[in-house]
């Protein structure tokens, strides 16, 4: 039975302070205070006069800058008002700023936050993509490298960390925040301030990461293994603070999503009617909530090692690099399922709507997603098969890793069952969803090669594993994100993306991606290790081929960006309310969407996927029961 508690019985009204901290709070104040904060933090760090190679200065500078940025943008207003007893009044969420200016400032409206997230993630993807292009340029010649080795490794590290930011948040951030409240029938998230915080932690993280080259960059890759990280300059402090901010964003967003999905479902939105995309967000949020704190804690430990010599990870002083490896991967493996679980959700959701058949085996699909969620906690040591840690545990981790193919196989089965004898429309989102299935299949099968210790002995740390995770993350998750953008863009922005260019984009991206990344499996089998600035002369042809196709792949994303910018700002035709003729609730609402999601809290009367079922009711009754006020619905049992 779904419960709609009292907080949900109206428009998104949030207690706000009438007074501000002396100065008006907006993004300009945020940037100014961030600069002041950096200066103050750095001065404080210098004043300690530690023998720390200047790390305290930079770490405190970044930390203070991030906190002051959040204060300047307005996060302190409400807590300060409560603290000092200023008057707080109910006020509609996100009304501090109007017009497009809303999107650049603190807003508590989940729709605004979704769009903010989408733009920020596309920007971050652009930065990471430029990094990838520079990497591939450098690898055009084997030796001497075009980019000097230290710069090259900084590029590799920044590309990887930036793309990890993107992969962690680019589904739950834009689409989770925007559509989960619609899909479960609520006007707001459970914790709108936390939702805004989960977004506003991201821009400082991106800026801090981009600042790394000012302090010499960092040459450690995204794994940041000690003792190598101890040798890195202050550039590594960007990794610590930037990654910690993203970790906090994951926790904050995870807690909020779980609470919202558990507590704020409208009447009739039973667990078995929950759209599969919401299940994907739900399972990823479980992982984000419980895995990201481990990352944040471990990063703080590295920061302490670098400043006050706590020696958690310094082997020469009794610490252990193994400790870092364990903590990092104990976070790191659930992390990769934070990437892919919502992508599974998107792909299954889209395959249903474009097959025009019910989701085949709904409960099995949910079991599959939750099964991956559970198993992902028990596999982290497969990243450490060669490390020398506990050889006796290798059979266990080998087995648990291979077990993950069972719930993953379920996702494929459900997709196939849904497509069986369906009426498939080959729209752009569907093309990308099918592209996901193909790419993720290769990613998954190559993962099995890596899961067995003897075969991993040859493949570990080589380009084979690099190709494997690019097939799962780029070919998998990024394809799902692009599918979601094509699918939901008309509802989010009120504009259709150009579908003809979308089809060209799909074939261009799909072919270029596979031709660029497939040969990397061969590079790994031919003993090319990852993260090398130079390689065997005999592999030059192969690497040049990869680089050229990587450039073509990048060009396809430029085409996509042009399509987004053109369709969003230069076509003035409002998209139809339901261009895909889909059944789910977000398409029952008008385009453009109103400031309030629902005038009355809807009552869900059917499943979102009841295609072809003549006795099925519409997914929801948007009018609500006529004879009742909205507030009393919470006490009613859900209609079945």
């Amino acid at each position: 039975m779904a419960v709609a508690p009292a907080v949900d019985d109206g428009p998104p009204i949030i207690q706000s302070s009438e007074r501000r901290i002396v100065i008006p709070t907006n993004i300009l104040t945020g940037i100014a205070l961030a600069a002041v904060g950096y200066w103050a933090g750095a001065q404080l760090g210098i004043s300690f006069a530690l023998n720390d190679a200047g790390n305290t200065e930079v770490l405190l500078g970044y930390t203070f800058a991030s906190i002051m940025f959040l204060v300047g943008i307005g996060f302190a207003n409400y807590p300060l008002a409560r603290l000092f007893g200023w008057r707080v009044t109910p006020q509609p969420a996100g009304d501090d700023h109007d017009g497009p200016w809303r999107y650049l400032n603190l807003s508590l409206d989940h729709k605004v936050i979704g769009v903010q997230y989408l733009v920020a993630m596309l920007m971050a993807m652009l930065f990471g993509g430029i990094g990838a292009m520079l990497i591939r340029t450098s690898l055009l010649v084997p030796d001497p490298p075009i980019v000097a080795p230290d710069k090259y490794l900084t590029l590799v590290s920044m590309h990887s960390v930036m793309m990890i930011f993107v992969a962690s948040a680019a589904i739950v951030g834009p689409f989770g925040n925007f559509f989960v409240p619609y899909m479960i029938g609520t006007n707001r998230m459970a914790f709108p301030r936390l939702e805004a915080l989960s977004f506003w932690l991201v821009p400082p993280a991106i800026v801090i990461l981009l600042a790394a080259p000012i302090f010499g960059g960092f040459q450690t890759g995204w794994t940041g293994y000690t003792p190598l990280s101890e040798q890195a300059d202050q550039g590594f402090d960007s990794y610590i603070v930037g990654f910690t901010l993203i970790g906090l964003a994951l926790v904050v967003s995870g807690v909020n999503m779980l609470t919202t999905i558990i507590q704020l479902r409208a009447p009739g939105m039973t667990w078995t009617r929950l759209p599969i995309f919401v299940w994907g967000v739900f399972s990823a949020s479980i992982l984000g909530t419980f895995a990201a704190p481990i990352l944040a804690a471990a990063l703080v430990m590295q920061g302490l090692d670098r400043t006050v010599n706590t020696t958690f990870f310094i082997s020469s002083a009794g610490g252990s690099p193994y400790l870092w490896e364990n903590l990092f991967w104990f976070f790191g493996h659930p992390e990769v399922y934070i990437f892919i679980l919502p992508a599974f959700g998107i792909v299954l959701e889209l395959i249903v709507h474009f097959s025009r058949k019910p989701l085949w085996g709904y409960r099995t699909a949910v079991v599959g997603l939750l099964g991956v969620t559970l198993l992902s906690w028990f596999v982290w040591q497969h990243h450490l098969f060669m490390s020398g840690i506990a050889p006796a545990l290798r059979p266990f981790f080998m087995f648990s890793t291979e077990m993950i193919s069972i719930p993953t196989g379920i996702v494929f089965l459900v997709a196939f069952g849904t497509m069986w004898r369906a009426r498939i429309s080959m729209t752009v989102p569907m093309l990308f969803s099918l592209g996901f299935l193909f790419n993720f299949l290769i990613g998954g099968l190559s993962g099995v090669f890596l899961s067995d210790v003897p075969s991993d002995t040859t493949l570990h740390g080589s380009y084979f594993s690099m190709a494997h995770f690019h097939f799962t993350i780029v070919g998998g998750e990024i394809f799902a994100i692009v599918a979601a953008i094509y699918y939901w863009f008309p509802k989010m922005t009120g504009r259709m993306l150009n579908q003809t260019w979308g089809k060209i984009h799909f074939w261009w991206m799909f072919i270029a991606f596979n031709l660029a990344f497939m040969p990397l499996f061969a590079a790994g089998l031919l003993d090319m290790p990852r993260r090398v600035s130079t390689y065997a002369v005999s592999l030059q042809t192969l690497n040049d081929w990869v680089s050229v196709w990587a450039f073509i792949l990048f060009a396809s994303m430029v085409l996509f960006a042009i399509n987004i910018i053109w369709s969003w700002f230069f076509t003035f035709k409002v998209a139809p309310a339901n261009p895909w003729q889909a059944r789910s609730i977000e398409w029952m609402l008008p385009t453009p969407l109103g400031r309030r999601n629902f005038e009355k809290i809807p009552v869900f009367t059917g499943g979102p996927y009841d295609y072809g079922n003549p006795s099925a009711k519409p997914a929801a009754d948007l009018g609500g029961p006529p004879d009742r006020g909205m507030g009393s619905l919470g006490a009613e049992p859900a209609p079945s």
Binding site: Y225, P227, M426, D452, T458
Partner: protein, 281 residues
């Protein structure tokens, strides 16, 4: 299951069977690394081959299904959108699918665990656990030739405790010998990767990471570092290593011992910093 279901399923099944057989035949011809220079390398090669063979029908099946569906189960072009049959699932099919994937997984796990434990049994290293550098000659039967591998930014040094700690910058190994590597590092984490021998082991500072290899064929091999270890990580590669005959090895190690005689090397030390690479390179 309707007649139409059966027709589609039969077509798919036949196409899948034919293409899988073709695919498996091709997969069996693919030449995979790391080769046959050691028993470990042979095991890894055959395991990679086996996985390629097992994945082929899976790959063929999924791709075939996607292609078949988008052509056979297509919305009529130009007409109003039509819904498919409202099928919500088939419990028996779901159970069967899970059972089949579980069986494949169990099979893979059994093969993998069996490979692990048998190599562990083969490498029953009771003799060498006693102490490093106290054993007899490498040719004594049952004894493992011990080699300490020390990673440093940015090269590997190989030390032979059985030969008074003779050390070299290139790895020479006698053929038909069981070898026991003790991998460690003096600075950051490296990973000792003797590609053609099918050996990979991380070099951690302060850790003695033990791994084994049994050489079966003479020939050169490459050693690379497989863990990011700083700016010259990509240059930490050496192709001047070889598995040689017992006689050649004896001659070679005697020469190394002679060259090292003025250096006063310890036979074995877990915290030993090799000299800068000036000798023999």
């Amino acid at each position: 299951m309707s007649r139409l279901d059966r027709t589609h399923a039969l077509r798919l099944l036949v196409a899948w069977a034919v293409l899988s057989v073709v695919g498996v035949l091709i997969a069996m011809q693919v030449h995979l690394p790391p080769g046959d220079q050691s028993t470990q390398a042979t095991d890894e090669t055959s395991l990679l081959q086996l996985m390629l063979i097992i994945s082929t029908p899976v790959f063929v099946g999924v791709v075939l299904f996607i292609l078949y569906s988008v052509f056979a189960f297509r919305q009529t072009r130009g007409a109003a959108l039509e819904d498919g049959p409202p099928s919500y699932g088939n419990f028996r099919l779901q159970v069967a699918w899970v059972a089949i994937t579980a069986i494949i997984v169990l099979l893979l796990a059994v093969i993998g665990i069996n490979g692990l434990t048998s190599s562990a049994a083969e490498t029953n290293f009771a003799s060498s656990q006693a102490a490093l550098g106290t054993g007899g000659s490498a040719t004594t039967s049952g004894h493992r030739l011990q080699v300490q591998v020390i990673g440093q930014q940015w090269w590997f040094t190989y030390r032979y405790p059985d030969f008074g700690g003779a050390e070299s910058l290139h790895l020479m190994l006698p053929v038909n010998t069981n070898i026991e590597f003790h991998v460690t590092s003096t600075d950051v984490v490296h990973s000792f990767w003797a590609y053609e021998l099918g050996v990979k082991a991380d070099a951690n500072p302060g850790v003695d990471n033990i791994t084994y290899v049994s050489t079966v064929r003479t020939g050169a091999f490459t050693v690379r570092c497989a863990e990011l270890c700083g700016i010259w990580h990509g240059h930490m590669a050496d192709t001047n290593n070889a598995v040689v005959s017992q006689a050649d090895f004896t001659t070679w190690i005697a020469q190394v011992q002679k060259d090292n005689s003025d250096l006063n090397l310890p036979p074995y030390s877990p915290i030993y910093f090799p000299h800068p690479p000036i000798k023999g390179d």
